[in-house]
Symmetry: C2
């Protein structure tokens, strides 16, 4: 038996029991409401994790980039949605090839962007499925809900495109102060999108998919009548931000970083061999507070440089040089993207090593 406590540090540990529980719980919510789950694979970028999500009933996977989609398609996932307004002729050519192999859809939020994808499909007498992104309050990408019908009409008329539906993402959930506020954002997310879909249908345009999703809002948004699909990502691992938001308890967090105390140079300060190149610099949400919790202590990483993590030692905690500790990071999705592989563990034991196959696939 190989024990994770014996692994060289720093490295990423995935608690498979917790992960499987997270997958089953969210799958259950979707199933109970008759909504299709399409987990966002950007969180893990791991084939073995995506397979477990599909085995638990997910319809397909969401990804953020065409190059991520290519990795999961090559591994046998046959239904992929690129939840980003992809643009440009280079991307269009890759999408065209991918659409030969899998059921594919991509996000769009402008006619110019959508047209930049249509040409290779129209030339082949085919159509690329698109979902129109609607802004439900994050104010990142997406059209205002009242602009959705007019753009949907133009998309539906564009040769080489087929409008499959609408999608949104309530990322503003990460900035809410209380779980009640998060729930309200989730209901808003589903309601805004369902209403926009009705307005599009009123123009005689079919809307097959009404797709919502963020981990904090998922269970609230998918319960809104009319919603057909939900795309949470982070739920598979969770992280310190989800705990801070009240999305889950500590013991749902499946991803931790194993690190070693490299230095205890002064009273009140201990330094790990894990910095921003291991944990990322992403802040805790909704309120910034350091760079990760040291499990089993009351201490937190308060400063990171690239390879150093500086712990502000809480009263009563002690750290010694050479000691191994586990860190619960602020944001699991960006941690995955820093590592070539993660260690799958159950209890004290290492059960597998998974490649982060889509790591760094930003194209």
């Amino acid at each position: 038996m190989k024990r994770w406590a014996d692994l060289e540090t720093p490295c990423v540990l995935i608690d498979v029991d917790r992960m499987e529980r997270n997958i089953a719980r969210t799958a259950g919510w979707a199933q109970a409401r008759g909504v299709r789950l399409r987990p966002h694979a950007k969180t893990h970028k791991v084939i073995e994790v995506g397979r477990r999500q599909l085995q638990a009933g997910a319809r397909g996977l969401s990804v953020a980039k065409g190059s991520e989609a290519e990795v999961f398609a090559a591994a046998g996932c046959d239904d992929l949605f690129i939840a980003f307004p992809v643009v440009g002729a280079d991307k269009a050519r890759r999408l065209r090839a991918l659409a030969e192999r899998v059921r594919l859809a991509v996000g769009v939020d402008s006619l110019e962007g959508a047209r930049s994808l249509a040409a290779p499909f129209a030339e082949a007498g085919r159509a690329l499925d698109v979902l129109l992104k609607v802004d439900c309050g994050l104010h990142r990408v997406g059209v205002d809900p009242e602009e959705a019908p007019a753009l949907a009409l133009r998309l539906a008329e564009t040769p080489g495109l087929r409008l499959r539906g609408l999608f949104t993402h309530a990322g503003q959930s990460y900035h809410q102060s209380t779980p009640e506020d998060v729930a309200r954002v989730g209901v808003h997310e589903g309601s805004i999108l369902a209403a926009a879909a009705e307005a599009v249908r009123a123009l005689g345009i079919a809307v097959e998919e009404i797709s919502v999703g963020s981990t904090p809002t998922a269970r609230h948004a998918l319960a809104v009548p009319g919603v057909t699909e939900c795309r949470p990502g982070n739920y598979v691992y969770h992280d310190a931000s989800q705990v801070s938001l009240g999305t889950c308890p500590d013991d749902d967090c499946a991803l931790t970083v194993l690190a070693t105390v490299a230095s205890v140079p002064a009273a009140g300060r201990a330094v790990l061999d894990a910095g921003s190149k291991t944990l990322s610099s992403d802040p805790l949400r909704p309120r910034p507070d350091g760079h990760g919790l040291v499990l089993g202590t009351r201490s937190r990483l308060q400063r990171l440089s690239e390879e150093h993590g500086v712990i502000d030692v809480a009263d009563g905690d002690t750290f010694r040089v050479g000691q191994k500790v586990r860190v619960l990071p602020n944001h699991a999705c960006v941690v995955s993207n820093l590592h070539d592989h993660v260690w799958a563990i159950r209890g004290d034991e290492v059960v597998d090593r998974w490649a982060v196959a889509a790591r760094g696939h930003v194209l």
Copy 2:
């Protein structure tokens, strides 16, 4: 001729002319003072860049991790310093193998940590070269200067170790308000370490190397009498933080990210296909201000999510969907670590594609 403007986005561009100028300039400062340059390869993690630094006269390379050292050793770099207080039996075994192939030294800042490395060397009748880390005010790792002589004595007595010298890093330079303050930090950095070395020598212990270095302080610290070696890293590429600190002008910055405008969803907002998985979340230093400058505009990335970069469009700037732009990131070292390769460019032309060979090598 392949033009970088035709590359698929997002991707990292390295302006080779600027990079070579940066390498030559810093090499010149070191040579003029008779100080050995040991550039920190963590910034680029690229074999081809490290070779250029060595060809320009660098004595060897600095790295942050043993696994980084292994990559550069395999590529033929025969003099490496791991500028981090490495600890533990796993690491010691790897160092022992590496020390057979290259002239190697590692940082230490505690007797416990140093002893954890000594055993495999002592058993083989060999000694690992160590440099004692002294804290010159960053308060990260390293002993206080007045504690250096006592620890140096213990290290010098430890079988399996050979004390090569002292080193420090004035990372607090990144928090200074003016170039004059940065210069003062640099003089302090060199002076503190030179004085600590004298105190160690007063105990009859040889101190062969007195090694300083950060990019903002390099030219000031290496000019302090007694200093023998300097280890800047970021200077090879520079970034928006160096410009903000006054270390260099805009046109010394060699690393940029080519991105595409994916969405212009509202007046005053444009969104790139590059987020924190491309640019990192590292803040601008010394004062946080967004996540990168859009070259040729007065606009800045004000918000990042994993794959979206939200530009707050400045008055007079315009962005259109499909437009390619270049972003000058806040922190080049963490950008390198997110990408599997970078494109080497001269003028409009792509001249090479370099693997980021030590990317993700955190062990």
